[in-house]
Amino acid sequence: MDIFLQQLINGLTAGSVYAVVALGYTMVYGIIQLINFAHGEVVMIGAMVAFSVIMALAGAQPGLPPVVIVLAGVAAAVPVCMAVGYLLERLAYRPLRHAPRLAPLITAIGMSIVLQHLALLIWSRDPIAFPQIIPLQVFEIGGAAITGVQIAIMLVSVVMMAGLSAMIYRTRLGAAMRATAENPHVASLMGVDIDRVIAVTFLIGAALAAVAGVMVGTYYGIAHYTMGATLGLKAFSAAVLGGIGNMAGAMLGGLLLGVVEALGAGYVGELTDLCHASFLSDALVERCARDGHLILFGSNYQDVFAFLVLILVLVFRPSGLLGERVADRA
């Protein structure tokens, strides 16, 4: 049972990060029906910038408490990512807003490649190690271990998601965003500055991505210029799983995906151990007596689960778990 609980904690931590990144995808999609494939790269840039600042600070001011150093990293990463997000929208998407839908999708992929190689030029192709400034604190819950960093990640995610929801449903800006999402043309007739709303959406998404970048970097202790690709793809899967365009769906999808992944990686080996079914053939009995196991799918299929879930959802429920509208071909 403690193993199961541990996998659940692992899954929820990873899922919180997915959820925050998925929000960036879903917000943009909700408003301009564009999959911003460069969003994963914004997360990576957030991690890289924060790492650079944290490393410099930890080197120059070793006496500072770790929380202050990490917060300084976040404070540097957020504006940089917001600038990147704004530039993305201004340079790659706005000129193509009325172009065929395939065009901005291509520029999105193009921008993702550009950002990745920019990061390669700036930070080199070596993985960057997170300075070991945070003392390892492990808490025990029912036999499972949870670290201070994991608790912080979950708390920060919840706070950010709650703050975002409050903003969308309680403020004038949020109302403008919802109006634009519903019908940009009518919204503009009602006096909503569409360009501004879209730009703000990108800024918020990028700020969330920056924080997610710091979270994922701190959690795993490593940042690399290619880290955005897989993370982005998984977060995108999470957004689709929950129903792209739907905020609550992105959060649910992210958490669910994290948990499915962790449980999948943890148990697939045992579930597909052919030795449980060794009565099927004598050769199997012999093999199992020798090796003890004959595992069909090992834990290296961990990353496959995200995409398996994506395919299943698209087949059986194209609009996602909480999706209102049928997702367009992305």
């Binding site: 190690a129 795993y220 202790g221 690399h224 290619t226 943890g266 090992g298 961990q302």
Partner: protein
């Protein structure tokens, strides 16, 4: 082509003509009008060296090159005469960017430049494809750092290495683990690459032969940084030791997350994760890990080499420099024995050579592998990997004992490995 290259090329052409002529014990023909007539005839013999000089492991590439350069300059300083003619050795350094495609391009370039022999390449991934080009041209190559077994298993003539192989490394680290940590249950993981999986297989085989229970293999990829799910599963089986076949970029997070989950087992790795980067990535958690590298630790190389290197380059050698130094010296020694710099003449000498190098005695087996190659076991102490044992001829001995046996003076107060992060070449 620069003037200098052009000149050396024409000189090289002269050399080959001269040397082949001398080999037949004929009087050297007079050079044509292109070369001036100095009082004493000096001909140039080119030796290629290939390693990545740009990119993530450029510092290791430079280290390798320095080793070869030192050997060549020492040979020039003491003066070598082949077939009655004084020769000057010239190093031709090339950058393969650790990229197999670039590796074959520069290999062809060196063949076209008519080098007499090649020291390199650094990576297994570049050495293997390049070896077929050198072999076809009949040019001997000696790598000082390519550990993948396949390198010498292709049946090519003239392909040598002066370091051990991965399939010697796996048993070495597994035996050390079995004898020192005495685990009952070991979990073996790998990154599903040719290198990682191959090494993990060797370790598993050795552990099982020692009667130790090995858990079903767990795998990640060479990009996996989230090992929590796998480690949680392993934790439930309560292993006493964990071996991971993979690189430091994935091994560091593995180790860190293992300790976060409260796994107390001994973590062990191959050379891909036998670097100081491990402590950067995993922090305190890295202390006490066990890992292996092919060959001897750099500070156990001969004192003459260490002093010569330091005097010449004003830095300490990092990792494989003693081996490239030996590789270049082997080429030269074989040429001296054959009294010729012509590959076809000196290659037979190279295959049966017995040579006392900076890294110990070197002899080659029929495949071109070094006979009785050493393996070194390291541990992490205070953020630096530190050699604790050397395995030779199946015997495990401490580094001090090895150095006594090898007749080398004890290492200087500051061991070389402590000054810069040794980093194993990327295995692709």
């Amino acid at each position: 082509m620069t003037l200098k290259q052009g000149l050396s090329l024409s000189l090289a052409a002269t050399v080959i003509a001269l040397v082949s002529a001398c080999g037949k014990q004929e009087p050297p023909p007079l050079p044509k009008a292109e070369a001036p007539k100095p009082a004493e005839q000096i001909v140039t013999v080119k030796i290629g060296h290939v390693a990545p000089l740009t990119g993530g492991i450029a510092h290791l590439g430079k280290d390798n090159e320095n080793g070869a350069r030192l050997a060549i300059e020492e040979a020039n300083a003491r003066g070598v005469t082949l077939g009655g003619t004084k020769v000057k050795f010239d190093i031709v350094p090339e950058d393969d960017q650790a990229d197999p495609k670039v590796g074959t391009t520069v290999a062809q370039k060196l063949v076209d430049a008519k080098v007499a022999g090649v020291v390199g390449h650094l990576n297994s991934g570049t050495s293997i494809p390049a070896s077929s080009i050198y072999s076809q041209a009949g040019i001997p190559m000696i790598s000082g750092s390519a550990t993948n077994p396949k390198f010498t298993e292709q049946g090519f003539k003239g392909v040598f290495r002066v370091v051990g192989r991965d399939d010697q490394q796996g048993p070495a680290v597994a035996n050390y683990l079995a004898s020192q940590s005495k685990p009952k249950v070991v979990a073996v993981l790998d990154d599903a690459t040719a290198y990682g999986e191959g090494l993990a297989n060797e370790v598993e085989k050795t552990l099982k032969a020692a009667g130790i229970k090995v858990l079903p293999r767990e795998k990640g990829t060479d990009k996996t940084i989230d090992w929590k799910a796998v480690l949680t599963k392993i934790k439930g089986k309560k292993p006493d030791a964990i071996f991971y076949g993979g690189m430091d970029a994935t091994g560091g997070p593995l180790l860190k997350q293992g300790r976060e989950l409260g796994i107390k087992a001994v973590f062990s790795f191959g050379d891909g994760a036998c670097t100081d980067k491990m402590s950067e990535l995993a922090g305190q958690a890295a202390d006490g890990l066990i890992c292996s590298q092919a060959g001897i630790p750099v500070q156990a190389a001969s004192k003459r080499f260490l002093d010569g290197y330091k005097a010449k380059f004003n830095i300490d050698p990092i990792l494989y420099a003693p081996f490239t130094y030996d590789a270049a010296n082997l080429l030269i020694a074989a040429m001296v024995k054959a009294n010729s710099a012509e590959p076809a003449k000196y290659l037979p000498e190279l295959t049966k050579i017995g040579f006392e190098g900076a890294s110990g005695r070197i002899e080659f087996d029929e495949k071109g592998d070094r006979k009785d190659a050493e393996m070194t076991i390291f541990t992490m102490k205070g953020g630096k990997i530190t050699p604790i044992a050397i395995i030779k001829s199946g015997k495990t001995m401490s580094v001090e004992d090895y150095m006594k046996m090898a007749g080398a003076a004890p290492a200087p107060a500051a061991p070389v490995a402590a000054t810069e992060a040794p980093k194993a070449p990327e295995k692709k």
